[in-house]
């Protein structure tokens, strides 16, 4: 019988003659993986056994058998999976062999690895293990997951991969570049100036204290609690008749009486309660995610770690950053708070990603980070767009309004009172105009827009993919044009684009930016 792949052979050990590049022997996952998997699968078992535990159900024996089958199959499966799983790192690739029935051999070339994320949920922190997630692209799906290895092993894997990548880069920079291997994201970044010392010791860019994280949460409103309540209700499936009889016995009677006495106050209080709950949840969610947020510059990579219950560590290679996005909203901006995101691009051109570089910070802090990594500064002198944009916005929205009023008038009833929204539209148009602006410098171009969601793009000119300007018939009549600077990895509707600039100015901005790109 012909074996299509040599899965039944013992795994090939890594070549050991490479002195410069440390390689690993084939390894198993941490033995405690099995314990963790069993623990993680327990809720499902409890769910299956729920009728048995409640007792008195005539079909409970069925669930009992189900539970027994679960133990007979799942536990050995977990053990087999553990025994089958092997991973190792050769100087060229990360190899993962896995699978019980379907065996999978996955080889991930080291040079393609973008980001190695280390994640520790509470259980893993108790057991001293971690999940290692290997990304080959800016974001999207993980290519390889090792769950779980010991935390030291996780860090070792990251170091080994980083060293191997640096060795590869040093090798590559001495050999010729070809068309196929040209970096699509930017001009091939010279990374050989990264010295060993710089790579090993990081430069701390920012750390957020608990007070700041709580503040960040206070500006965030989360409805996640609703989902939790609903899934909890679904999980325990309360018996409606039991609930009804419990209510009839009158534990909530005083409350009921009060609601009946003053329904308006009850409604206001209810809404207030819901908002407070959302506000509190927002704070808790933010604390859980960004507790001890720390951003460091290690070599040519941004290193980020954060989390309260689940610890996360990840890296963003600077060369993969396509543009910097400053995000805020009217409330946050009134208090001078911003959030800094980076738009990254992976090996796969279709994949885009946004990662948070600073969840909540002052403008000076953002500027300091940008300066430390040698990226565009937040501009302080902006050029506004043409005031004619207010007129265009009003014309557009009045047209839509008239159509709505007309249609409803014909088919149903006159609703001329809807015209009362016109002043609101005018206010919105004014705010919209005031938010729209652009700026450019020798090395970057920045655009800003938005009323509620205020976004500022800062695009380094050397990350430009294509650029241009366009004008529809209405814009041409008013002598206006929209400009755009396209970068890799932007998602649709979230790229640097700004409408209604005076046509001659639009053309000159674009040709200025392009001639800087050309250098």
């Amino acid at each position: 019988m012909e074996a299509p792949s040599d899965q039944h052979m013992t795994p090939v050990p890594a070549p050991t003659n490479q002195a410069a590049a440390p390689a690993m022997e084939p390894k198993r996952l941490h033995p405690l993986t099995m314990v963790q998997r069993v623990i993680v699968s327990l809720p499902a078992l409890v769910f299956i056994m729920l009728p048995v535990m409640r007792g008195g159900d005539s079909t409970a024996w069925f669930n009992l058998i189900f539970g027994a089958m679960y133990l007979v199959f799942i536990v050995p499966w977990i053990a087999l999976h553990y025994l089958r799983f092997r991973y190792w790192i050769t100087p060229e690739e990360l190899v993962i062999h896995s699978g019980v029935l379907t065996r999978r051999r996955r080889n991930i070339p080291v040079e393609r690895i973008q980001n190695i994320e280390i994640e520790q949920a509470p259980l893993q922190r108790i057991l001293g293990t971690a999940k290692v997630i290997v990304y080959t692209a800016g974001s999207a799906t993980a290519e390889g997951v090792l769950e779980y290895v010991s935390i030291d092993e996780a860090r070792a894997i990251r170091t080994v991969v980083r060293d191997l990548q640096q060795a590869l880069q040093a090798e590559e920079s001495s050999s010729d570049d070809t068309f196929a291997s040209m970096d699509p994201a930017g001009d091939s970044v010279s990374e050989d100036n990264v010295t060993e010392e710089a790579a090993s010791s990081g430069l701390s860019l920012i750390e957020l204290d608990t007070r700041r994280v709580i503040m960040a949460g206070a500006f965030r409103f989360s409805m996640v609690y609703l989902a939790v309540i609903f899934s909890f209700l679904q999980y325990i499936e309360p018996d409606p008749t039991l609930l009804f009889s419990w209510l009839m016995r009158g534990p909530l009677e005083p409350l009921e009486a009060r609601i009946e006495a003053s329904p308006i106050i009850a409604a206001v209080l209810g809404a207030f309660g819901a908002i407070m709950l959302g506000w509190l949840t927002g704070i808790l969610v933010t604390i859980n995610r960004y507790h001890k947020f720390k951003l460091e510059l290690i070599g040519d990579k941004l290193h980020r770690s954060h989390g309260l219950l689940t610890l996360k560590e990840g890296t963003i290679p600077l060369s993969r950053i396509q543009s910097w996005i400053l995000r805020t909203n009217p409330l946050m901006e009134a208090f001078g708070w911003y959030r800094l995101e980076v738009q990254t691009m992976g090996i796969n051109l279709n994949q885009s990603g946004y990662q948070v570089a600073l969840p909540f910070g002052r403008e000076e802090e953002v500027s300091a980070i940008l300066e430390a990594v040698g990226s565009p500064a937040v501009p302080d002198t902006w050029t506004p767009v043409s005031t004619l944009t207010i007129r265009r916005f009003m014309a557009r929205s009045l047209f839509v309004l008239l159509v709505i009023i007309g249609v409803i008038q014909i088919w149903w009833t006159p609703i001329w009172w809807l015209a009362a929204v016109v002043p609101l539209l005018m206010g919105w148009a004014l705010l919209r105009y005031r938010g729209m602006r652009f700026a450019d410098d020798e090395s970057w171009v920045a655009m800003r827009k938005g009323v509620i969601r205020r976004l500022t793009w800062m695009v380094p000119v050397d990350k430009l993919q294509t650029a241009g300007f366009y004008a529809n018939w209405f814009q041409r009549r008013l002598g206006l044009a929209s400009i755009y600077v396209d970068t890799a990895g932007a998602s649709a509707g979230r790229s640097a684009e700004l409408p209604d600039i005076e046509a001659s100015e639009a053309a000159s901005v674009i040709s200025r930016v392009y001639s800087r790109f050309r250098g």
């Binding site: 010729d176 570049d177 070809t178 068309f179 040209m182 699509p184 994201a185 691009m345 051109l349 885009s352 430009l464 993919q465 294509t466 650029a467 241009g468 300007f469 366009y470 004008a471 529809n472 018939w473 041409r476 755009y484 396209d486 970068t487 890799a488 990895g489 932007a490 998602s491 649709a492 790229s495 684009e497 053309a507 674009i510 040709s511 392009y514 001639s515 790109f517 050309r518």
Partner: protein, 160 residues
């Protein structure tokens, strides 16, 4: 960066576009005609038989006759030293600069109509998201290939 004095497309593309829009709108007009015939004997007709179908056919014919020359008139391209410039659009006029060193790969393609008139389109792929595939239609087959070779040459020279 001046977008003046751009090169026009090959004149045959007007015929290709006329043919394509004609076929597309012709099918729509045919649907209207069938609908008209099916309702020919209904008593509560708004318009006499053939009025809708006639309008649809006249409209289809005039659009496919007048629109392609207009499209042609506003199309322009120019391959400069380090970039490809494009201008296009009747209603929404778009000016695009594609730096040659941003090109990922290039395709020259022809459909059956284009093959009949010896024109081809050049498809330029970049890593951008807004306009990752830029299509330059209506080039003579030989011109499309020589443009592609020139750009390829630039990329290869640049990489060395």
């Amino acid at each position: 960066m001046s977008f003046d004095d751009l090169t026009s497309l090959d004149g045959s593309i007007v015929k290709v576009w006329r043919l394509k829009t004609g076929i597309f709108l012709g099918i729509l007009a045919l649907a209207v005609l069938i609908w008209d015939i099916l309702g020919a004997f209904q008593s509560d007709r708004l318009l006499p038989f053939g009025a809708w179908a006639g309008m649809a056919i006249v409209l289809a014919f005039s659009i496919s006759w007048w629109l392609p020359p207009l499209r042609y008139r506003y199309w322009g391209y120019e391959l400069r030293e380090e970039e490809l410039l494009l201008v296009r659009g009747i209603f929404n006029r778009v000016h695009t600069i594609i730096p040659l060193r941003r090109i990922q790969h290039l395709d020259v393609s022809q459909d059956i109509f284009e093959r009949e008139f010896d024109v081809a389109k050049l498809i330029v792929h970049t890593a951008g998201t807004r306009s990752s595939d830029v299509i330059l239609p209506g080039l003579h087959q030989d011109l499309a290939e020589s443009l592609r070779d020139d750009m390829k040459q630039f990329i290869t020279d640049q990489a060395l």
